[in-house]
């Protein structure tokens, strides 16, 4: 197993003086992934720091979504021809969440996900946010109501929907639906939140809202976000990982990756000279 080289891992910049050094939330170690016989990820090493936003960028089809979905074992659903190799160690437990002995449901209870297209359930706004709690067997009405309100406030949606919690979620606008999906994920207090191009189906206004939200959320939760939009990566992330053809080409402090990339491929991609 290759060890992670601390110098290339974007250890927090020395300039951030008073801010304490973040802890590791998770780290991929020599991660390979196969769709049947097709290898989609090759030997990926990547740290995810606590209370930081890590962006995954790269051309379409390079494996960003595939990589992201390893973190909550989404590949376990389906006909069972998908295979993981390597580890994703989750902290503070220090457990490899890809290990056969780990229940994917337990993993998903601690690692939330927001998808490309808003995917609210055919339920009321309230029931959408309460979903994770109900699935976990929470019975107390007041506890659920409190968590729903807190999650909607954290997702900056409370002011818009607080007075119509029992409307169907489908009646919300696209941007509101996406914030509802964020609230749904937040309601169960995940430790790590995965975003797969969360704004690609949204207009610029709704996109700006979500980006603001991500900036605020990192106080509570570690974030790993896939984006095809480099400006977005630059705006929201602390660290950036550039992927190409299933490999991790470069990882580092977002400022460094965007202003002074070490690899030629990264530079070509961020300057738009790609392909």
């Amino acid at each position: 197993m290759r060890m992670i080289d601390a110098n290339t891992m974007g250890t927090p910049a020395v300039t951030s003086g008073a801010v304490p050094a973040p802890a590791l939330k998770a780290e991929a170690r020599a991660l390979d992934f196969f769709y049947g016989e097709v290898q989609a990820l090759r030997k990926i090493d990547l740290p995810v720091w606590e209370n930081r936003v890590t962006a995954l960028i790269g051309p379409s089809g390079c494996g960003k979504s595939t990589f992201l979905r390893c973190f909550n074992r989404m590949h376990d659903i389906g006909e069972g021809r998908n295979r993981y190799h390597g580890e994703i160690v989750f902290h503070p437990d220090g457990v490899d969440i890809l290990h056969r002995s780990v229940d994917p449901i337990e993993v998903r209870m601690r690692i939330g996900m927001v998808f490309q297209k808003p995917n609210p359930f055919p339920k009321s706004i309230f029931e959408n946010v309460a979903y994770g709690l109900r699935v976990r067997g929470e019975r107390s009405r007041s506890a659920i109501a409190d968590r729903v309100e807190a999650a909607l406030r954290d997702a900056s949606l409370w002011d818009e929907v607080g007075d119509r919690l029992h409307d169907m979620a489908f009646n919300l606008s696209g941007g509101q639906q996406q914030r509802l999906c964020i609230a749904r994920a937040l309601a169960t207090s995940p430790e790590l939140l995965l975003f797969d191009e969360p704004t690609s189906a949204l207009d610029p206004n709704a996109t700006a809202n979500i980006e603001d939200l991500i900036n605020r959320l990192k106080e509570k939760v570690s974030i790993l976000i896939v984006t095809h939009n480099m400006q977005q990566a630059a705006r929201v992330s602390d660290y950036t990982a550039f992927m190409y053809l299933g490999e991790l080409v470069e990882f580092g402090d977002t400022n460094v990756v965007f202003t002074n990339p070490k690899k030629r491929q990264t530079e070509d991609y961020i300057t738009g000279r790609f392909g």
Binding site: N72, M74, I77, R108, M113, N119, V135
Partner: protein
């Protein structure tokens, strides 16, 4: 209908260089050409759609016409309130209640079996079964739907009823419970296949949203997929109800053909459809009261099916998928 300029035939030469400077050339195909072809197709399509409507209207028209003759002899009040249907006897009673009760009892028994089993089958096939299991189970279910109903009738008479008598020794040889259960078995494939299609049509990203929240397969199936597929599942139930109400042979063969005003499925009975075959198979003089009565009860049958379809339509509108 407007000609679509983006679909100009490519064979038309595109003028280049010098030709472009010359006198203007009209490169637009004449509109009427396309128009005639489209019109012919439209007429054919309309005729096809209209013939179905025309047949339906004709059937309802005949039913209403012959029923009107029936109701000129029999007061509507008697038809609706009398509790005996003894049209074949010398002392005639014209109460539709026994036939209606027979229809409702066998239908209800059938649905009590078919709706739970059909729904569970659909959930299993759509959410749990692997591709291979589905490949085996689906054709078997379709086979079940392809068996002639007379066979089901005898199945009810010679197998199901005797089996039931093993547990209920007092059960008469002709009863509504056996045929009701067999109707249920018969319509399971209809319910399960339409409901399964509805569930499979629920987009993957909605299921993934549920899994990502830490839900199990069962929780995802029951809390997300089934609610998302409600309108299709309701459509499956309505189809099942219509099939059960309209089912004829099973009841005619195994329920005893005695109009009997009872809500107890253990007793013999006759349904509207069973009565219709019974009477239609005998040679009745055209225009006799017995002959006309078929149309009156047939009209009741049509009204029942129609109201269930209407209910289903309303339910579908109410639960329409919005993803």
């Amino acid at each position: 209908m407007r000609a679509d300029v983006t679909e100009l035939p490519v064979s038309i030469p595109i003028p280049t260089g010098a030709a472009l400077a010359a006198a203007p050339v009209n490169r637009f195909a004449h509109r009427r050409l396309r128009h005639v072809g489209e019109l012919a197709i439209e007429v054919v399509l309309f005729a096809a759609a209209f013939s179905a409507v025309a047949v339906t209207v004709a059937i309802v028209g005949i039913l209403v016409y012959e029923s009107a003759a029936f109701f000129s002899h029999v007061p509507l009040v008697d038809f609706l309130t009398d509790t005996q249907w003894t049209i074949m006897f010398s002392e005639k009673h014209y109460g539709v209640a026994p036939l209606l009760a027979g229809t409702l009892v066998t239908t209800t028994v059938g649905l009590l079996l078919a709706i739970p089993v059909g729904t569970v089958t659909a959930i299993y096939l759509s959410e749990f079964a692997g591709a291979r299991t589905r490949e085996i189970v689906k054709p078997v279910l379709e086979l079940l739907a392809g068996i002639p109903t007379v066979v089901y009738g005898y199945f009810a008479l010679v197998m199901v009823t005797p089996a039931l008598q093993f547990f209920m020794p007092e059960l008469p040889g002709f009863n509504m419970l056996g045929p009701g259960l067999v109707i249920g078995i018969m319509i399971i494939p209809y319910v399960s296949s339409v409901a399964e299609d509805a569930m499979r049509a629920v987009p993957v990203h909605m299921r993934e949203g549920s899994y990502a929240m830490g839900a199990t397969r069962l929780q995802t199936a029951l809390r997300v997929v089934v609610p998302a597929a409600t309108s299709g599942i309701v459509a499956a139930y309505i189809l099942g109800i219509s099939r059960a109400i309209g089912e004829t042979m099973v009841v005619a063969v195994a329920a005893g053909q005695q109009p009997n005003f009872t809500w107890d499925p253990r007793e013999p009975g006759a349904t509207i459809t069973a009565f219709i075959v019974q009477v239609a198979l005998g040679d009745l003089p055209h225009g006799s009261i017995e002959y006309q009565s078929i149309f009156a009860v047939g009209l009741v049958l049509v009204l029942m099916t129609l109201s269930f379809n209407l209910l289903g339509h309303l339910a579908r509108k109410r639960f329409r998928e919005a993803y």
